[in-house]
């Protein structure tokens, strides 16, 4: 590169773009063939994943412009800059005055680890996302007897969409899922390791999962009703004690999300426009009011995007999908009387807390549809894991008898 300054050569949509990205697809499809040969997946999974591996190629440039999810370009630029000059072009994050890796840099570093031949466009990163998701599928399905049932959970429209884009949501979902399953399995070290990248990738998700870890591994709130009540009481007392700190963070995020989405009368946008033209919004001043507001706004969060917000083809699909996911969650809860398990109660309680926090800070529909899914989906899979515990016990018994 001239001037040692990185610039992304945009091959997007050109003929060579399809050559580069078909090569990436070929590598993924080749790995898929090998997994089939090794009997790691069945033929249904093979056909489904072959189609899923094609979606990044079909979605970006072909069906929709990648500008519809404009954030993709910053990840693509970052990966290519790191690969060509080992220099980050993303702003470093600040935490208590010390500089750390930004979410973009960390996502790019992780996505860049995918063994793909080309990192040329945003679609290459989408293929990296697909590879990581497929690996997660291979890991996750081994806990279940019925592979086809697991496969269905990976055919949910939003997971297909986000894993077909160069965004960090797939990574967050994967890490959250690994965290939740391992916490449920009673592991400590691996969930703690997984929490570290989550802290950088999405601090909201980190906070919610850290709370779950605290309840599960420290307070053992999943083992009995009594312990759950103790955890709940301590949580409430802590919320009252640190009310000011908690509310200041929530208020900051509320303003930040409103400001990010702000359009000024002069056409300027985002934080700069908010600084000049933004109105002051009323701060949440007590934890009780925060709980009240969260309960009121939670149904809205669960139903967005509402019909009047539908501005692209994905919105109606995501609206219907949201109800479908809630239905699946309720159905899984009732199967095998899972709702009676303390493990389920703790998991659902943490999910509701997470959703309430998002409901409080919700502003931009597109962003929060994504946030909601990123939070809800790992919890749904964790519940799926819980609800099939009996199958797993039978499977283990079968293996033992074979041995």
């Amino acid at each position: 590169m001239v001037n040692e300054y990185f610039d992304l050569v945009d091959y997007g949509g050109s003929f060579v773009y399809y050559i580069f990205e078909l090569a990436n697809f070929s590598i993924l499809a080749f790995l898929l063939l090998i997994t089939l040969k090794l009997n790691l997946i069945n033929i249904n999974s093979f056909i489904a994943w072959l189609c899923l591996f094609l979606t990044p190629l079909i979605l970006n440039y072909f069906i929709v412009s990648p500008d519809l999810f404009g954030d993709q370009f910053q990840y693509a630029k970052e990966v290519m800059s790191l690969k060509t000059s080992e220099k980050s072009i993303s702003n470093a994050s600040q935490f208590f005055g010390s500089e750390g890796l930004s979410a973009v840099t960390m996502s790019s570093r992780i996505l860049g680890l995918a063994p793909l031949p080309n990192f040329m466009t945003v679609t290459s990163l989408a293929f990296a996302n697909k590879l990581f998701l497929f690996t997660t599928f291979l890991w996750f399905k081994r806990f279940f007897k019925n592979e086809n049932e697991v496969l269905l959970y990976f055919l949910i429209p939003s997971i297909i969409l986000y894993s077909s884009l160069a965004l960090r949501d797939t990574l967050i979902i994967i890490l959250s899922l690994i965290f939740l399953i391992n916490v449920i399995r009673g592991r400590i070290i691996l969930p703690l390791i997984v929490l570290y990248p989550l802290f950088t990738l999405k601090i909201q998700m980190f906070s919610i999962l850290a709370l779950y870890f605290l309840g599960h591994s420290i307070f053992q709130a999943h083992s009995s009703w009594h312990r759950f009540r103790v955890f709940l009481s301590l949580l409430f007392v802590a919320a009252l004690m640190f009310q000011d700190e908690i509310l200041s963070v929530i208020n900051l995020y509320r303003v930040a999300f409103i400001a990010e989405d702000f359009v000024a009368p002069d056409g300027s946008i985002s934080y700069a426009a908010w600084n000049l033209y933004g109105d002051k919004i009323d701060d949440i001043s007590s934890i009780f009011y925060a709980i009240f507001l969260a309960i009121i706004k939670l149904p809205v969060l669960l139903s967005i995007p509402l019909p009047w917000d539908w501005s692209n083809i994905f919105y109606p699909i995501q609206a219907l999908e949201s109800f479908l996911l809630i239905y699946i969650y309720l159905k899984l809860s009732s199967e095998n009387q899972t709702y009676k398990k303390n493990e389920y109660i703790l998991l659902t309680f943490i999910l509701i807390i997470g959703l309430c926090i998002y409901a409080l800070i919700m502003a931009n529909v597109g962003t929060f549809v994504r946030y909601r899914f990123t939070l809800f989906y790992p919890f749904l899979l964790a519940l799926f894991y819980l609800s099939r515990e009996q199958d797993r016990e039978r499977k283990d018994l079968k293996f033992k008898s074979i041995d």
Binding site: N3, Y5, D7, A23, I27, A29, L33, I89, N91
Partner: protein, 299 residues
């Protein structure tokens, strides 16, 4: 080792080797490899090489802020436009503006890009514009007119193919583009930088003169001594600005590295295209072999 035993690693490794011998190391793959090379050669031959052009600039205000410290006076009282900072945005807005494209068009750059380079104004305002067949059909069907000649608007679109970015650490501004004709593009980029800066200076001089004229009018009718004093300061600062602008020094930006081009074209990327085609063709060969041998299982 217990893990490997449980995973049946040896058995799986043997299966992978069998797979490779069955589907990859076969005659069809060799044919696919040869076909990929021919296909790559065809693509490379039909591609237009593009060079990476770049110039490094720096915000002139970061080096010389003394010229702006006098700003205050009436602007301080009446809340006038802030002048410090934003050089990148100002430079970018000016560079992508129609006004600048028009200036460059009048200097004959449109003729050099779209025509034969003749500087005769009558010629370069009548350079015929060719449209794609699909555009012509669309205009016929929908009943709108296509432009017959190139104009400054086309030059404006061309200028927008030059990208401006700011480097995070050093704060340097980089103007870059991918172009096939590197010598002409270097010359154009140079002219673009200078013309943008000149245009910014001329606009500011004009603006300052207007401010001075209107401030004099206000001064004539002002009876309040503090306002009169503030207006006087404004006039002084505007004269000072004009004095700073009416010279050959750069205003918005300093040129750190003048425009230059990469020695080799950055696109088409010959190794990447060849390698990608090899992967695609060999994978197709594997897929065909796999489907042929497993069609009963697959269906």
């Amino acid at each position: 080792m217990n893990f490997l035993k449980k995973f049946r690693a040896k058995n799986k490794f043997n299966l992978v080797i069998d797979f490779l011998y069955e589907y990859v190391f076969i005659k069809r793959s060799a044919f696919a490899f040869g076909a990929s090379l021919i296909f790559s050669f065809f693509i490379i031959q039909t591609s237009v090489p593009q060079f990476s052009l770049s110039a490094t600039l720096r915000d002139a205000s970061s080096a010389d802020q003394s010229s702006r410290v006098m700003i205050g006076g009436a602007q301080g009282i009446f809340g006038g436009e802030p002048t410090l900072g934003g050089a990148l945005q100002a430079f970018q807005s000016n560079m992508y503006s129609y006004a600048l494209a028009k200036r460059m068009w009048n200097s004959g750059w449109g003729s050099r890009i779209y025509g034969n380079g003749e500087m005769d104004e009558e010629y370069f305002n009548k350079i015929p514009k060719r449209h794609q067949l699909s555009d012509r059909i669309a205009s016929f069907l929908l009943g709108y007119n296509l432009n017959d000649y190139y104009s400054a608007h086309d030059l404006q679109s061309y200028i927008r193919s030059y990208e401006i970015n700011q480097e995070r650490e050093s704060g340097n501004i980089t103007l870059s583009a991918l172009k096939s004709n590197k010598d002409f593009s270097i010359e154009f980029m140079n002219a673009l930088i200078i013309e943008t800066d000149n245009y910014a200076k001329e606009s500011l001089i004009l603006k300052s003169k207007e401010i001075i004229a209107s401030t004099y009018n206000q001064l004539a009718i002002s009876k309040n001594s503090s306002i009169a004093s503030a207006l006087g300061n404004t006039i002084n600062s505007e004269y000072y600005k004009i004095a700073n602008l009416e010279n050959d020094m750069p205003y918005h930006i300093n040129i750190i590295d003048p425009p230059y081009s990469s020695e080799y074209p950055v696109t088409p990327n010959v190794p990447a295209i060849t390698f990608s085609n090899i992967i695609i063709f060999i994978f197709l060969s594997i897929l065909i072999s796999f489907i042929l041998k497993n069609k009963d299982d697959l269906w």
